[in-house]
Structures are given as structure tokens and as C-alpha cells.
């Protein structure tokens, strides 16, 4: 496992191949324009952060990219290929994994069972049949457990976990599918500061190993420290994009969202 | 012909009286009461038990049926549905548990009635009320039919008006649309739910007593048949819509009567199931229902 100290903010933005790209993506619910024209590009081995106040359309955008809500207009491209009509369940097979804003673990499964669920789609029929007679834990699951430091808790049920730990299980579940693109919707919500730093460190390590990520977060400091590029949204529209340090200083961003929050985060 | 129309209207009125309460509870407080048929039957049965002891007039039997229906319905709400809603993890799970709890608790009155009657149909022949028919030339109408028609349409109109205009009615509709907002507005959900269930049970009791008068006697199992017909009527018209359930009940009774008159009638019991199934496929929200997302 690499323990290379992550580089602080990205300097060499652009120039890399985009794994995933959206073009003018819009999602309208009746008259409500939740997302209204977003272009973004996830570059290979980079973390793109999406910043914005509550209700700015971040989660809807994530749902649109993962095909959980239909697009009103725009295109979704994976490796340059339009996947706007691919069933959402196929996306996981093509290497897109995600977590949700709220904890969504299966209460009847142990922590290990929940993490295994992420790896199940990569298992062949014969592996699944073998699992019926012999409990074996695939390497991807061991790795995800190791990365997230959940080894002691594998036998517990989700109801017995603290909120922060439950969120780590979700990250582990996503990692267990060995994704090419990882999308995290507020992964550190409800965590305490040491836990947040731990997760941020994990995401940076994964990035350095080449995992492309899309990160939706509220913690501005963490976003600046973790992401290579930031996209700021407000009311479904993009208001700024670029290097994290520039985006958070952008007047439009300051006005729309940061103001108080940024100062408070800066105080820490 | 005119006679068939009148009979269809009477049958439709009985369906309507039965379905009104179910639709009201389902559309407002979200309780699909599978024990409604059982309550309906047992209310009529209570009146029967009483009339065996004292020869009472119709008004008294109706009062007894209405009271018994309301009481049973409130009891079911207090003992079964309320605890389920309190304990269930989410709304979806509560819905299914309420359905199952309703099916379970419905067995209890049925079992008691079956035991006491030995599954023999019961009626009010010991009562003081005489069913009389009047020949109007083109049609024969009985006093029970007149009362049934008046009660069904009168009460449907009354409840429709109450939901639209009266304060508790508005609050109830509020719960039906958005429970959270309603409780933020200071609506006492628990009391309103009990009131709704009492009204629903009273309507079931009324329907039970009138049906028993109309048919002369009913069997303990009659409740089950009515339950499924009421579903068809509610789904047809749209859950929670009083106008919808009225149309649904009359349509169902009309088609059933048509089939009974024109054929041997063996397919008549299937009409409710067919209507229910087709309606759910084509338009699950019913003709006049709220557009609620029911898809996954």
C-alpha cells in the first residue's frame, strides 16, 4: 500500500484524457430546473470536486451522471461513448461506483456482507457457486477492508455502527467493486474531524494510484485540500470552475455560497 | 329494464356505502383496512344478536350497526394499525404490515360470527320493520331501497362536502397530501385518524345493516366478497376521491347487473377482479385520483 504523501492542491490541471464527460446536462422536475446545463470532465486519475449550497443541484447531477434520473437534455460520455441510454445497472459493470448522501447499508447483512455486495458484480458464476459451499472473501474485498480500516468490525451489523463508521463501510463497498470512477456524495457528512482527515487521506491515496473521482462535499477546506479541480454550482447552473484555490476565491462563489462558511472553515 | 336499473342503483349504493369509508381512510390517513369487510359483517351481526332478544325497529338497528361498526373500527385502529405505524421503520413497510395486520384481525370477528351462527346466514326477521314494496307502474321499489339510495348518495355528498369545506376535513386532506406539512400546521394526526376510522366503521356498519335488510339475510363470509368489490370501485375511481368512488361503485354494480341479466351470471364475480386488474395496469391512479407516483 502506498503511503506517499499526497500532493497539495493540483497545479497541472487539464491535458489529461477525460474518462467521463457531461455535455450541457440538464434535469428538470416539472418546472423546477434542478440541473440546468452542466459540462464537466473527469480526468483520468484526478479528483473533481463539486461545490455548492444545499439544493444547488449537486446530488441531482450525480444522480443524472449515474443514470438514476432521466436527463432533460444533454449528453453523458464514458470513454467518449454516449451512455445516455445505458441502463443504470450496467454502469457498475463499466466501472462506475458511487455512494449516496445518506447511509444506505443493508440492515440484515454484516459489515462484511455489505462490502461483499460491492464486489459481487465482478464475480463469475463459478465463483458465486463456490461461495455457497465455502465462504471465501475476494481479494477486492480484503483490499477495500484494509484501505478503510474496518477489519475489526466485519461481524457487526449496520445498526451497531456509529454514523461515521457506517459511511466508511459505504466507501469500502464502492471500492470493493474495483471501480475506474468513484463518485462520492458527501462522504464525510456526520463525521468528526479526525475521521474526515482520514477519509480525505484515503481519497488522495486512491487518486495517486490512478482512481478517478468525483467528490461532492460541504467541507470547503477538505475540498481545497483534496480536489484537483473544483466546479461550483448554484441553482443548477455552473458558476465557476478551475483550480480549487481559484474557485473558492471567485466572487460569484463567495457570494452564492461560501461567505460565512469559508471564513469559518478558514478559522480552523 | 327500469327494474334492472333500480336494482343496479341499489347494489351500487351498497357498494358505495361500504367503499366510502375504505376510500376515506386510505386516501387520507393512508390506511388500507382489510378488516373493513369483517367490521361491516360484524356490525350487521351485532344488530342481529340484539334483534333476537328485543324486537327493535329499523332505526334502532341502524343505530346499533353504526355504533358497532364505529367501535370496532376504532378498536382495530388502536390495537393494530396505530402500533404498527408507531413501530414500523418506514412508510412502505408500515403499508404492508397494515395490510397483513388487517387480514389477520379480520379473521377474529369472522371466526366469532361463524361459531355463533354455525355459518348459517342471519337476518332481522325478528325485528319490527317490515320490508314493503310499492308498485309505481314501471318499477317496483321497496322501502329499504329508498332508504339505501338516500343514505348512500346523501352521505357521499356530505362527506365530499365535509372534506372540502369543514376544518377537520381540510386537515385530513392535508394529511393525505403531505403528512409532515399537516403535522407542522398543528393538525392532531392521532385524533383525526381515530375520527376517520370511526366514520369509516360507522359507514361500514350502516352498509351492513342495510344490506341485511335488502337481501333478507347475509352470511358471515359476505364481508370478504364486499371487500374485493370495494377495492375495484376505489381503484376505478381513484383512491381518496369521493366522486371517483361513487362512479366506481355505480359502474361496477351496473356492469354486474348487466352481466347477471344478459347471461347466466356465472362470470359476474369475476367482473370486480377484471376491473381491478385492468385498471391497475392502465391507470393505477384511477379515473379521478391524485397523480401520485406509484412506480419504481
Amino acid at each position: 500500500m502506498t503511503t506517499v504523501e499526497p500532493r497539495g492542491g493540483a497545479t497541472e490541471a487539464g491535458g489529461r484524457a477525460a474518462v467521463l464527460r457531461t455535455e450541457d446536462v440538464a434535469v428538470h422536475f416539472g418546472g423546477i430546473k434542478a440541473v440546468d446545463g452542466i459540462d464537466l470532465a473527469l480526468e483520468q486519475g484526478r479528483i473533481l470536486g463539486i461545490l455548492g449550497p444545499n439544493g444547488s443541484g449537486k446530488s441531482t447531477l450525480l444522480a443524472a451522471i449515474t443514470r438514476l434520473v432521466p436527463l432533460t437534455r444533454g449528453r453523458l460520455l464514458l470513454d467518449g461513448e454516449d451512455y445516455g441510454r445505458t441502463p443504470p445497472s450496467r454502469l457498475a459493470h463499466r466501472g462506475i461506483a458511487r455512494t449516496f448522501q445518506t447511509v444506505r447499508l443493508l440492515p440484515e447483512l454484516t459489515v462484511l456482507g455489505n462490502i461483499q455486495l460491492g464486489a459481487d458484480l465482478r464475480r463469475s458464476r463459478s465463483e458465486r457457486l463456490r461461495e455457497l459451499v465455502r465462504r471465501d472473501v475476494p481479494a477486492a474485498v480484503r483490499e477495500a477492508v484494509e484501505r478503510t480500516g474496518l477489519g475489526d468490525l466485519l461481524d457487526l451489523f449496520p445498526g451497531e455502527l456509529s454514523y461515521g463508521t457506517a459511511r466508511r463501510v459505504e466507501i469500502a463497498r464502492a471500492l470493493a467493486s474495483r471501480p475506474r470512477v468513484l463518485m462520492l456524495d458527501e462522504p464525510t457528512a456526520g463525521m468528526n474531524q479526525p475521521e474526515r482527515l482520514e477519509v480525505a487521506g484515503l481519497l488522495r491515496r486512491l487518486r495517486d494510484e490512478g482512481l478517478t473521482q468525483l467528490l461532492v462535499e460541504h467541507d470547503v477546506q477538505m475540498m481545497v485540500d483534496t480536489c484537483d479541480r473544483l466546479l461550483a454550482m448554484n441553482q443548477g447552473l455552473p458558476i465557476a470552475e478551475g483550480a480549487p484555490a481559484d474557485v473558492v476565491r471567485d466572487p460569484a462563489v463567495q457570494e452564492a455560497y461560501l461567505g460565512k462558511r469559508w471564513n469559518r472553515a478558514g478559522d480552523r | 329494464m327500469a327494474q334492472d336499473v333500480l336494482n343496479a342503483l341499489t347494489l351500487g349504493s351498497l357498494y358505495l356505502l361500504f367503499a366510502l369509508g375504505m376510500s376515506l381512510a386510505w386516501g387520507t390517513i393512508g390506511i388500507l383496512n382489510f378488516a373493513h369487510g369483517s367490521i361491516f359483517m360484524f356490525a350487521a351481526f351485532t344488530a342481529h344478536l340484539l334483534v333476537q332478544e328485543v324486537a327493535l325497529p329499523m332505526v334502532a338497528l341502524i343505530a346499533v350497526g353504526v355504533a358497532a361498526g364505529a367501535l370496532l373500527s376504532v378498536l382495530v385502529q388502536l390495537l393494530v394499525f396505530e402500533p404498527i405505524q408507531r413501530r414500523a421503520k418506514d412508510k412502505h413497510k408500515a403499508e404492508l404490515q397494515i395490510l397483513i395486520g388487517g387480514i389477520g384481525v379480520a379473521i377474529v370477528p369472522l371466526a366469532i360470527a361463524q361459531y355463533l351462527t354455525r355459518s348459517v346466514p342471519f337476518g332481522y326477521s325478528a325485528g319490527r320493520f317490515q320490508v314493503n314494496s310499492y308498485d309505481l307502474g314501471f318499477v317496483r321499489v321497496s322501502n329499504v331501497q329508498v332508504i339505501t339510495l338516500a343514505a348512500a348518495f346523501g352521505l357521499a355528498a356530505l362527506i365530499g362536502w365535509w372534506l372540502k369545506a369543514a376544518r377537520p376535513g381540510l386537515a385530513l386532506r392535508g394529511i393525505g397530501v403531505d403528512a409532515e406539512v399537516a403535522s407542522m400546521m398543528g393538525v392532531d394526526r392521532r385524533r383525526l385518524a381515530l375520527l376517520t376510522m370511526a366514520v369509516a366503521g360507522a359507514l361500514a356498519g350502516l352498509a351492513g345493516v342495510l344490506l341485511t335488510y335488502y337481501l333478507g339475510s347475509i352470511a358471515p363470509e359476505t364481508g370478504d366478497a364486499f371487500l374485493l368489490k370495494a377495492f375495484a370501485a376505489i381503484i376505478l375511481g381513484g383512491v381518496g376521491s369521493i366522486a371517483g368512488v361513487t362512479i366506481g361503485a355505480l359502474f361496477l354494480a351496473g356492469v354486474e347487473t348487466l352481466v347477471l341479466v344478459t347471461t347466466s351470471g356465472a362470470w359476474a364475480p369475476a367482473i370486480a377482479f377484471g376491473v381491478l386488474f385492468l385498471m391497475l395496469l392502465v391507470r393505477p391512479n384511477g379515473l379521478l385520483g391524485r397523480q401520485e407516483v406509484r412506480r419504481t
Binding site: R104, E108, R128, L132, S177 | A88, K93, G104, A111, L281
Partner: protein, 313 residues
């Protein structure tokens, strides 16, 4: 033993048939699909087996097999039809479907024997066959509840949207569930009809829905074992509870109500949570706290993974 077997033959047969019928509702329920189509499939299987046996004198395996096939196909088509429905609405639609078939049987003329039904479906089906078939079914279903298969169905039930993002084709799982439910219901119906040599429309009705549901709810809906507990209880309860006599139905009603309100997981759920608590009490205290596995503890955990035998999932 064999003396006992012979004198309790009807109950033994009833237990296995009830189990298969209960499973035809439990399998969809486990996948979060509230479908009673299995009851309709019971009718399909029962009539197909009777008709083929009486008219063509085919072997029971063909008579029952044909019904199973028919019900599986009907189940698949039904799944496509009701794909948009879920929850109560799906439950109502499938009850309507099942009861409609009951009325259709009454009106089937010579083919179904009308209101009186069919008689004389005499075959070579024995109780041993019924038991063998049920055991195979249970074995397959038990396997389907384990490992990746079981986890994926859990995901479809608890959180369909999450299941989709984990690469599970939820609609396909639901279609399969309808097919399996249809096959199970038809197996139960076909075998019961051939054992009794007769079938009539009265055997298919709302009471069958109530019976199957009762077994699953009291037994536990999340596993075949729950259905088995329910089938055992409700087949043998009448003989055990002789003293209840005519109040038997009342006892059922109270049991189902109590289960629905207080033990939604059924008896199986109670046993499982009891077992978990017992295991927990024996296990050395773990640190479920969030910070427990924070930085620096990455080396230790794999010890747990090294011994898969201890890992429950």
C-alpha cells in the same frame, strides 16, 4: 414410526404442499415483491395436472411439469404486465389475477368441470415424491439465500435504487421472482390435486391467500425456513390444540395480528435476533466506536479475514 407415518399421512402431505404454496409467496416477498400470483399459479397447476391426468392419462411428472411450465410462462408475462406496480397496488393486482382464475375455473365448462370441478385424477404420485420434490426445492432456495445470490436479493428488497448502482438488474430479478413463484405455486397445486384426485373452484379463493400469508408472516418472510416454520405450525396446530376446537380460526387470526404488529420478522426473525444476541454476548468486546479503526490500525484487521469460517455474512 411407519405406523405414525401412515396415520398422519394427510397431515404430512399437507405440510409439504403448504410449504410449497407458502414459498410461492415468500420468494417474491423476500425480493420485496408483494405478489400473490403464486395463488393463481396454484390454480393453474392444479387444473393442468387434473386435466392432463384425466384426459390423457399422462405420468404425474408430465402432468405436474406441464402445469409448472405454464405457470412459469404466465408468471413471466404477468411480471411484464405489472412491471410498473409496486407495494399494495401490486398486491391487489395479483390478488385480482388469482381470484379471477378461480372464477374462470367455474366457467371453464367441460374442460374444468364447472362449479363441481374435476374428479378421478388418479395417478402414481406418492407422498415420497412430494417430500423429495419439496426437499429439492428447499435446497435450491436455501442456496439462493446464501452468498452473492442472497445478498443481491437482499439489496433488491431493502433498497432497489442502491441495488441498481451495485450493478443488479432489479427488473430482471423481479421477473425471475415471478417465474419462480409461478413454478412453486403450480407444483403445490399439481401435487395436491393428484394426491386428492380431485380439484374444484372452491379450493382457490381468498382463503388460500390468507392461509399462505398467515404461514409466512408468523413463520418469517425473509427465508424459506420461516415458511417452513409457518407451514409446520399451521398444519399441525389443529391436532396439538385439540382443546381450542372450533375456535381454531380465532387463534389463527390473533396469531397473525400479533405477528404483524409485534414481530414483523416472524418466529424466524425472533430466533435470529436471539442468536445474534447470544453470539454477541460470547464475543470479546469489540470497539464499535468510529475512531477505533482510524489511522495506524491497517495491519491488524486481516487476521479476521484469514479465517473465513468465523465470518458470517
Amino acid at each position: 414410526m411407519s405406523q405414525w407415518f401412515v396415520s398422519h399421512l394427510i397431515l404430512i402431505q399437507g405440510t409439504f404442499i403448504s410449504l410449497l404454496l407458502a414459498l410461492s409467496i415468500q420468494v417474491p416477498l423476500r425480493a420485496g415483491v408483494f405478489s400473490f400470483a403464486g395463488i393463481g399459479s396454484y390454480a393453474l397447476g392444479a387444473y393442468t395436472a387434473a386435466i392432463l391426468t384425466i384426459r390423457l392419462q399422462v405420468a404425474p411428472v408430465i402432468a405436474i411439469g406441464a402445469g409448472v411450465l405454464l405457470a412459469a410462462v404466465v408468471g413471466y408475462l404477468l411480471a411484464l404486465l405489472v412491471a410498473r406496480l409496486s407495494g399494495l397496488y401490486l398486491g391487489m393486482a395479483t390478488i385480482a389475477f388469482a381470484l379471477f382464475l378461480g372464477v374462470a375455473a367455474t366457467n371453464g365448462g367441460e374442460l374444468t368441470g364447472g362449479p363441481t370441478g374435476l374428479f378421478g385424477a388418479i395417478s402414481t404420485l406418492t407422498t415420497a415424491h412430494v417430500i423429495a420434490v419439496t426437499l429439492v426445492v428447499v435446497l435450491l432456495l436455501a442456496a439462493g439465500e446464501r452468498g452473492a445470490y442472497g445478498r443481491r436479493v437482499d439489496a433488491v428488497r431493502e433498497d432497489p435504487q442502491l441495488a441498481v448502482t451495485l450493478g443488479i438488474d432489479v427488473n430482471r430479478v423481479r421477473r425471475r421472482v415471478f417465474v419462480v413463484s409461478g413454478a412453486l405455486g403450480a407444483t403445490a397445486g399439481g401435487m395436491y390435486t393428484l394426491l386428492r384426485t380431485t380439484v374444484s373452484p372452491e379450493t382457490i379463493g381468498f382463503h388460500l391467500v390468507v392461509t399462505a400469508l398467515t404461514m409466512i408472516i408468523v413463520g418469517g418472510s425473509l427465508s424459506w425456513a420461516g415458511a417452513a416454520i409457518g407451514a409446520l405450525i399451521f398444519t399441525w396446530l389443529p391436532t396439538v390444540l385439540q382443546f381450542v376446537g372450533e375456535w381454531q380460526l380465532l387463534v389463527y387470526g390473533l396469531l397473525v395480528t400479533a405477528a404483524a404488529v409485534y414481530v414483523p420478522g416472524g418466529i424466524l426473525g425472533l430466533l435470529q435476533s436471539g442468536w445474534r444476541r447470544y453470539q454477541r454476548s460470547r464475543r470479546p468486546a469489540v470497539r464499535p466506536g468510529a475512531a477505533a479503526a482510524a489511522a495506524g490500525e491497517h495491519e491488524a484487521p486481516l487476521a479476521t479475514l484469514g479465517t473465513p469460517g468465523e465470518v458470517r455474512s
